[in-house]
């Protein structure tokens, strides 16, 4: 069976780590599997290269930045191939270019446009374990690009799709996706499986297990993704897939949270067409992402508009809002930079009765005030004060009985 695996930076952080990963891969090779292995750069390499570049230029050219950063994965790839050859196995490491990974020209966050798998098939046919430098590709003009943070996950899923592997295995330093952050909820359980859609909500809401783009790609190409720990050999991990999840339909699967949220409110905005564009266009132009937007019903033709941004973006956001306040005729601009989001996630939740009520009751019983509420297809999110978010996660985990196993092995 062809297996496509990815090992993250913490799994190849040192020569010792690389030897350990090699031993693991060697066992799987000896069990008869063909293997294509995507690697990230060793440990903090990428951050160190970024730091080095910043000491030379505060705003380095993205093209040069990508060429610079692409070296980290070349190093870990070559070392892993060497370590595998110490086991007497054929192994070859390929750059993104050599592995046929073609991208658009959007440096530092390029998207894969195509995989030319000729060389990959050749090397597999020769009996080699193929190591592929993650996070990178080349444009049609042979420029080196990187795929942005978490890009090695995307490389792995794209290769699994191109090579029609039955699953893409992502090995990392956590053992899967949990019902909540185990640092906050000791009783949090690992989920045995989760749908792409739910995983996207879990990730964007703060469960930083893998990169959303990779999950989306898996969804589009219907590649199941196994997220598991590289440190253990058990058959654990969480399987992300597009199954119907009948057993889990209409159930809360997990609690996500995201601290570091700021809310901006425009008070007394006249109710007239075009206001939203006037408010949010300058933010988009400045590259500021707006998350939750809430507009209260108008009274006397006036309404209040609230939205959230990351705390880091708050000063720039306020500057732009104050610049347009008079133009749009808002009475005032206020801000609160001490908020957090907490969400319950589950396919079909918002169409099922009772979940919103149960969520609000749980927060009330814990004496936690709700600042904003927003709903999506598979999630319900409340904004609360930052200093109560851990309590909120624990209260919701308990309220929806997530400590009790209900996953069915598939």
């Amino acid at each position: 069976m062809l297996r496509v695996q990815k090992y993250g930076g913490s799994s190849v952080a040192s020569a010792d780590h690389i030897r350990r990963v090699a031993a693991r891969i060697a066992r799987e090779r000896r069990a008869g599997h063909d293997l294509v292995v995507v690697v990230s750069a060793m440990g903090q390499t990428t951050d160190q290269l970024i730091e080095l570049s910043r000491s030379i230029s505060r705003n380095p050219a993205p093209r040069e930045m990508d060429l610079l950063l692409s070296t980290g994965e070349l190093v870990s790839g070559a070392l892993l191939a060497m370590a595998l050859r110490e086991h007497g196995l054929g192994a070859v490491s390929l750059s993104g270019f050599q592995a046929g990974i073609r991208t658009d020209t959007d440096f530092s966050r390029a998207r894969i446009t195509q995989i030319e798998p000729g060389r990959l098939h050749d090397e597999i046919g020769r009996g080699n374990i193929v190591i592929v430098a993650g996070f990178q590709g080349t444009t049609d003009d042979l420029e080196v690009t990187t795929l942005g943070r978490g890009g090695s996950d995307t490389t792995a899923v794209a290769l699994a799709a191109a090579l029609r592997a039955p699953v893409c295995e992502i090995y990392t330093d956590v053992d899967g996706v949990h019902t909540a952050d185990p640092r906050i909820v000791p009783a949090a359980r690992r989920l045995i499986d989760i749908s792409y859609e739910e995983m996207l909500e879990m990730a964007s809401e703060g469960a930083k297990v893998m990169h959303n783009r990779a999950v989306e790609l898996g969804w589009v190409y219907d590649v199941p993704i196994l997220v598991a720990s590289s440190l253990t050999d058990d058959s654990g991990g969480t399987r992300i897939h597009g199954g119907t999840l009948m057993e889990n339909r209409n159930k809360v699967r997990g609690i996500a949270h995201d601290a570091g949220i700021a809310r901006v409110t425009l008070l007394g905005v006249p109710d007239r067409p075009g206001i939203a564009a006037q408010v949010f266009s300058p933010l988009a132009d400045a590259g500021i992402s707006v998350d939750i937007i809430v507009q209260n019903a108008g009274r006397h033709g006036m309404s209040d508009v609230s939205f959230t941004v990351t705390r880091a973006d708050l000063p720039a956001t306020l500057e732009r809002m104050r610049a347009i306040r008079e133009d749009i005729g808002a009475a005032d601009v206020t801000a609160d930079d001490n908020l957090a989001k907490v969400s319950i996630i589950g396919a079909g939740l918002t169409n099922a009765p009772g979940y919103a009520g149960a969520m609000f009751r749980a927060l009330r019983d814990a004496a936690i005030n709700i600042e904003m509420i927003t709903t999506a297809e598979i999630s319900l999110t409340c904004v609360v004060h930052q200093d109560r978010v851990d309590d909120a996660v624990r209260a919701l985990h308990r309220a929806f009985s997530l400590e009790t196993p209900d996953d069915m092995p598939r």
Copy 2:
């Protein structure tokens, strides 16, 4: 004017160094020159990568080693391009592959087979300063190769030849080629010019200023090479070229030396055809380079054969000689591992009368015993005891009046 320059590892050893090199290049760009700049890896990067690989494999696959080592020059190249853009100048860094440097498949010591200069011309035409990662290229199968130690010099000379630059400028941490090692002879002078041929002798005899392959390539393609310091802005340096050097013909240009020599002697070897092959073939097979070979005239059909190897190769050499001693009928094998070479270098020397005698007299007057003598077209070499080699260099530098300027600026 198109200038091709190369900056060595010590010139780009840190972010500060890179900024300094960038300032220098920026001035030359503003003076109206087109520039193609070859860089080595930062400082000790290559050695660190080698060490990392050795911690994983004692005998890493050359293909993987080359992919690994090629990253060092990609990093310094990208950083230098960033530093140049801080000066408001267009700059782009290219990998060996992107710069069109094609090589044979001899990993770790590949030879350049061809330069495809299309991209280089394009970038120059766009007004960009082109930074090229030295020391690397790709095969026709798109495998990454390295050119061996000192390979960045070779890259620079090859690019100067392909782009028809009037000169190849090699910037390093010394200010040129000297009449002798200045650490031994304080009165040693920088040579203003030197022929390719003399430079090859100076280099192979121990004046480690630049890589011999690069000098040979310059000779073949008639590319003059300027070796100068990257730390000063004066018009110094040594020009290596194919001029007739009329002024300097039949003069000693410099004193080279090489410590760490070992001599092996086979005593009482029967004088019969095929003996030399029997002695030296096993050494060639073992990758041991033999330097000086001296065979004494036979007496009673017997002769003594002496040859030198590096001290590091002595144990392996002795092992092989003892293995064949009986076969070839030699009486004994002896060794002396405490020797050094000292040479006088100059075009036409050996055809001119008097130099050998003057050399031997100078050593005699300094009470230095000569162990072996060998002559080449443009050099005379004596092997002496290691603890007297510095004295020998000083005595010869004085005897041939090398402290007195005689170079004519060209």
